[in-house]
């Protein structure tokens, strides 16, 4: 399979000033009805994206689907209820006279106290009919946990792909307020005992006994301070081959080295990873991560096809930007013909704790256009 056939070979990504330029021109082009899907979290970056887009003018509806997710009374995130409330108030102010806020409560736990947030958020947006009155859906993942925005985006892509077959061209954008310093200060607490495959991608298919003879490749997209996650995902996936993906180029040129040093014992002593298996991709370009993942996975699939093929588990343990690359690769490969069985292995956490950064870190807005007009043939 050649790189030409990659769905997001040609992609649309803008950041910083490019973010403003794009949205200004895009909104000025014609009347556009926008639905923002935003997570109602404690992250101060929650409203950065919508605030900027609203400030760039344009005509049309500006509504919000506000995703509320309660991680439970014992979640460390409960410490930041005041910040969460302030974010909600900021959003309400922004939308005053501009549009409506629709509240969506996501059930995070089943009656048996099992985590079902990923399944719930996908079910929350049951059909494309919900989006009929909008030309563009903009998902801001800044304050959404990975276990929610990945299945949500997979579901939206699936819905809009289904519509595209009927000639509809609804645009799906993802925006994120990116700051490695803030991301590093937000620490997951209370990890689940074991990992699981995220709903929205191959999950049960990866665990099939009838294909248990197929080698399993695991590509963890590594970030710092995730040793427990790495260990638990490894125990869960039980891979035959591990190909860690490191950020390079990165803002800190030694980022990849630092990560390797941090995980040296686990990766090399315990898991005996072959150094030649290491993959590199640009830290702040999700499409580059996607491209590197696709190249590696398709290579393995092609090489192992005569032996019955392979199964692939991806893990996003890095920034939200990099995790978008994981999402795109897993989504596309699961829908190819013939499809490749690709799942996203993940460890849920009880909540987050914010460590002090000392100074106020700068943030950069990124916008990714995933489907719609610009990809139409």
């Amino acid at each position: 399979m050649s790189p030409d056939s990659l769905r997001w070979r040609d992609y649309f990504l803008r950041d910083g000033e490019g973010f403003d330029e794009f949205w200004k021109l895009f909104l000025a082009e014609r009347k556009r009805d926008l639905l923002f899907v935003i997570g109602h979290g404690f992250d101060a970056r929650m409203c950065d994206g919508i605030e900027r887009v609203l400030s760039l003018g344009g005509e049309g509806t500006r509504d919000v689907a506000l995703i509320a997710f309660d991680e439970g009374a014992e979640s460390p995130s409960q410490t930041y209820l005041a910040q969460r409330k302030a974010n909600g108030e900021r959003l309400e102010k922004l939308l005053q006279g501009r549009g409506k806020i629709g509240h969506r409560d996501i059930k995070m736990f089943s009656d048996g106290n099992r985590r079902v947030g990923a399944r719930s958020i996908a079910q929350e947006f049951a059909s494309s009919a919900e989006f009929r009155s909008y030309t563009d859906v903009v998902v801001d993942i800044s304050a959404l946990p990975r276990s929610l925005y990945m299945p949500l985006l997979a579901k939206l892509l699936a819905l809009f792909d289904g519509e595209a077959k009927d000639g509809e061209k609804r645009n799906l954008h993802v925006i994120v307020s990116h700051s490695p310093a803030i991301d590093g200060a937000i620490v997951e607490e209370g990890l689940e005992e074991s990992a699981s495959y995220l709903f929205g991608f191959a999950a049960a298919a990866l665990e099939s006994e009838s294909t248990s003879g197929q080698p399993k490749i695991w590509i963890p997209v590594l970030g710092k301070r995730q040793p427990a996650q790495l260990e638990r995902i490894n125990q869960f996936v039980m891979p035959d081959e591990i190909c860690p993906l490191l950020p390079s180029p990165a803002q800190d040129p030694r980022e990849g080295d630092s990560i390797m040093i941090e995980y040296r014992e686990l990766l090399f002593d315990q898991l005996r990873v072959e150094p030649r298996n290491i993959i590199y991709a640009a830290e702040s370009n999700p499409f580059e991560v996607y491209r590197q993942l696709m190249r590696s996975i398709l290579h393995y699939d092609r090489a192992l096809k005569p032996l019955g093929g392979c199964k692939v588990a991806l893990s996003a343990m890095s920034s939200k930007l990099a995790s978008m690359g994981v999402l795109l690769a897993a989504y596309e490969l699961g829908r190819r013909d013939p499809k490749v069985t690709v799942g996203v292995a993940h460890v849920e956490s009880q909540g987050y704790r914010v460590e002090s950064t000392g100074t106020v870190p700068s943030t950069t807005l990124f916008t990714m256009w995933l489907s719609g007009e610009c990809y139409a043939a």
Binding site: P151, E189, S194
Partner: protein, 639 residues
């Protein structure tokens, strides 16, 4: 095989690449814990904390491992293992007698519970999925047992209809290829149902009302080259605790109701706050099943020899891999002698201090004259003398603390001293000496085994930490022997790497850490009293079994949020093996749940490593500890 620098880092059965390596590293001591009739029909529950060795035990009985064992049976490395398996009836001199199918319950089954199907449909699909996997596993097992290739030789197998059953979507007779295709279809159908982003309504294969696979195996319905393949089947379910409660109940009900001839083993984590339901009236009676609690069995003096064997096997593998760059045995790398010349000066100084202290204490109290005199004549090494003097100091402190002192103050005889001078007091004396004079306490193979807390994985991790240092020394052409002090420092460091970051690694981790700290401080306070009242020390706490019931009662928990929070925290601590729970412990006419600290925490709180010493407390006091931390009461400081 990939090069293994430090084989202690291969902690789980899953991380070991080949069956041959697995056999070479397998510590067969765990087989001594199985009942003799473990393979003869009754369902067997195998319970332990995580890392207790359940998965390794199940893996041992898988066809490829047993076939490897047969091929290696003449090899010294597996001779004893072979003998033990022969004793259980799993193998005979020339053949494997048992064929097992191992089903990890964490795979797919729990996700099926989340789809939102009606209970009856969910149960039928669960049984269908188990059937598909068991039958597929059985076909694979037969081919492996006969040295044939899977899936290439599937056509040599056939499945004939059982007398009074049918299997949905499968027509009998059919060959192995058709059976495999059927199993794949069932699995794929369930996978699609679970993974679909759209509505799962109406999707999925037809379900099963019973475990049809067990009936097929019991009736020898699988044929090889046209002849019935007779085998003793063992079906093992690993990680049963991962199933949703309704799934676990459904599976147990079916397994018991069917009374299959095939043996079923159910391995699950022991969770002292939830496992009871399995044994509730009406679920299973004692006659229907066997239960092995690995920790309880290890406690019967079996753990230390078993883990020593494991350590030696791993060290040998390192030597085979690295040659002169690795020690070829583990025990000699762990120095355990405080009588060595390097310690003489320090010991002499301590002896002078303790002896003088006791003599001053006894000088004004004539009743201790004979006791002191007897110590002056004590023989043996300097360290032995030191311990004897420190023991005497404890015994005098005890004597002085007695409320009803002998008014006549007659001299106490040396016979009385001998009666009181028991091993537990000597152990307390050793602990006190280490605290006062800085002697290492946590070193040597026996203490290392104790620090393993009856958990094989924990032992291997700790031993691996020590071995890592020996390996480095061997590479530098230095002696790989680790001095006691260095051992202690490494073992103390294990707390920092395994427990300190609990808030990140576990749910309610911050609360768990606060409670563990409270228990640790309490134990230290009680242990380090001058009279060592619970020698060698207290390393656990207990609540009445009636109070434990309140922690399991949903109605009570709904009414009392602090109790609910405590129950949740305690569940996490037990699940992560930080507290070792013993339920139904009878003492002083009451029944208790005893919660011992994982031995890994003992060095942090300067506690001994023996089990047995605990103090009971009301539940409300523990809840206060969990919320606010430990504050010593007057009675504890004035023991």
């Amino acid at each position: 095989m990939k090069d293994v620098r430090n084989p202690f880092r291969l902690q789980t059965a899953e991380s070991i690449d080949s069956d041959a390596d697995f056999l070479r590293l397998f510590g067969y001591g765990v087989l001594d814990l199985l009942p003799e009739d473990a393979l003869t029909g009754r369902p067997l529950f195998i319970r332990s904390a995580p890392g207790g060795g359940k998965t390794s035990l199940l893996k041992l009985f898988t066809p490829s491992v047993l076939q490897h064992l047969m091929a290696m049976k003449g090899n010294d490395a597996v001779k004893e293992l072979f003998g033990k398996l022969k004793g259980l009836g799993a193998v005979s001199d020339h053949d494997v007698n048992v064929l097992s199918v191992m089903l990890p319950c964490a795979r797919t089954f729990p996700a099926l519970a989340d789809v939102g199907l009606k209970p009856a449909r969910a149960k039928r699909l669960l049984l269908a999925l188990i059937d598909a996997r068991v039958i597929l596993g059985a076909l694979r097992a037969i081919l492996i047992a006969r040295g044939l290739r899977f899936p290439d030789d599937l056509s040599r197998l056939a499945l004939v209809a059982p007398p009074d059953d049918h299997v949905p979507s499968l027509s009998f007779p059919c060959d192995g290829v058709a059976v495999q295709r059927w199993a794949e279809t069932v699995e794929q159908g369930v996978a699609d149902l679970i993974d679909t982003l759209m509505s799962p309504e109406g999707a999925g294969p037809p379900g099963h009302d019973a475990l049809l696979s067990l009936r097929l195996l019991d009736a020898n319905c699988i044929q090889l080259d046209g002849k019935p393949f007779e085998a003793r089947w063992l079906i093992t379910f690993d990680d049963m605790q991962k199933l949703a409660p309704t799934q676990r109940a459904a599976l147990l009900e079916v397994v018991v109701d069917q009374r299959a001839r095939s043996t079923v083993w159910l391995a699950e984590r022991f969770e002292a706050l939830s496992t009871d339901e399995l044994l509730a009236p009406g679920a299973l009676s004692g006659r229907d099943h066997l239960v092995i609690n690995l920790e309880r069995e290890w406690k019967k003096g079996r753990f230390e020899p078993a883990v020593k064997l494991i350590a030696e096997r791993r060290a040998r593998m390192a030597a085979e891999s690295a040659g002169a760059n690795a020690p070829d045995a583990f025990a000699p790398t762990i120095e355990a002698d405080l009588d060595a010349p390097a310690w003489q000066e320090k010991t002499q100084t301590a002896l002078d201090v303790v002896r003088k202290r006791v003599e001053v204490l006894a000088a004004s109290k004539a009743q201790y004259a004979d006791w002191v005199k007897s110590r002056a004549d004590v023989e043996g090494t300097l360290r032995n003398q030191l311990i004897k003097w420190r023991t005497l100091e404890i015994l005098i402190a005890r004597q002085q603390g007695k409320k009803q002192m002998n008014l006549l103050l007659e001299p106490l005889s040396t016979d009385e001293l001998d009666d009181k001078d028991e091993s537990d007091v000597r152990a307390a004396a050793e602990l006190f000496l280490s605290k006062e004079f800085g002697f290492p306490y946590y070193f040597g193979l026996s203490k290392l085994a104790s620090l393993g807390s009856f958990n094989v994985e924990q032992f291997i991790r700790l031993a691996g930490d020590l071995f890592e240092e020996s390996l480095a020394a061997a590479v530098m052409r230095r002696s790989p022997r680790l001095a006691p002090k260095r051992q202690q420092r490494i073992l103390q460091g294990a707390y920092d790497t395994r427990v300190k970051d609990l808030p990140r690694r576990a749910k309610n981790g911050r609360d768990v850490l606060r409670f563990l700290d409270a228990v640790g401080q309490f134990c230290r306070d009680v242990t380090h009293q001058p009279n060592a009242p619970y020698s060698p020390g207290v390393t656990g706490v207990a609540i009445l079994m009636q109070e434990r019931e309140t922690l399991l009662d949903p109605a009570h928990l709904a009414k009392s949020p602090p109790t609910a929070a405590f129950a949740s925290m305690l569940g996490t601590a037990i699940a992560h093996n930080l507290l070792h729970a013993e339920v139904d412990y009878k003492v002083k006419g009451n029944r208790y749940m005893v919660l011992y600290l994982n031995r890994l925490l003992c060095p942090k709180y300067e506690l001994p490593l023996q089990f047995g010493g605990f103090r009971e407390k009301p539940l409300r006091e523990f809840i206060t500890w969990a919320e606010k931390g430990y504050r010593p009461s007057k009675s504890e400081t004035l023991l």
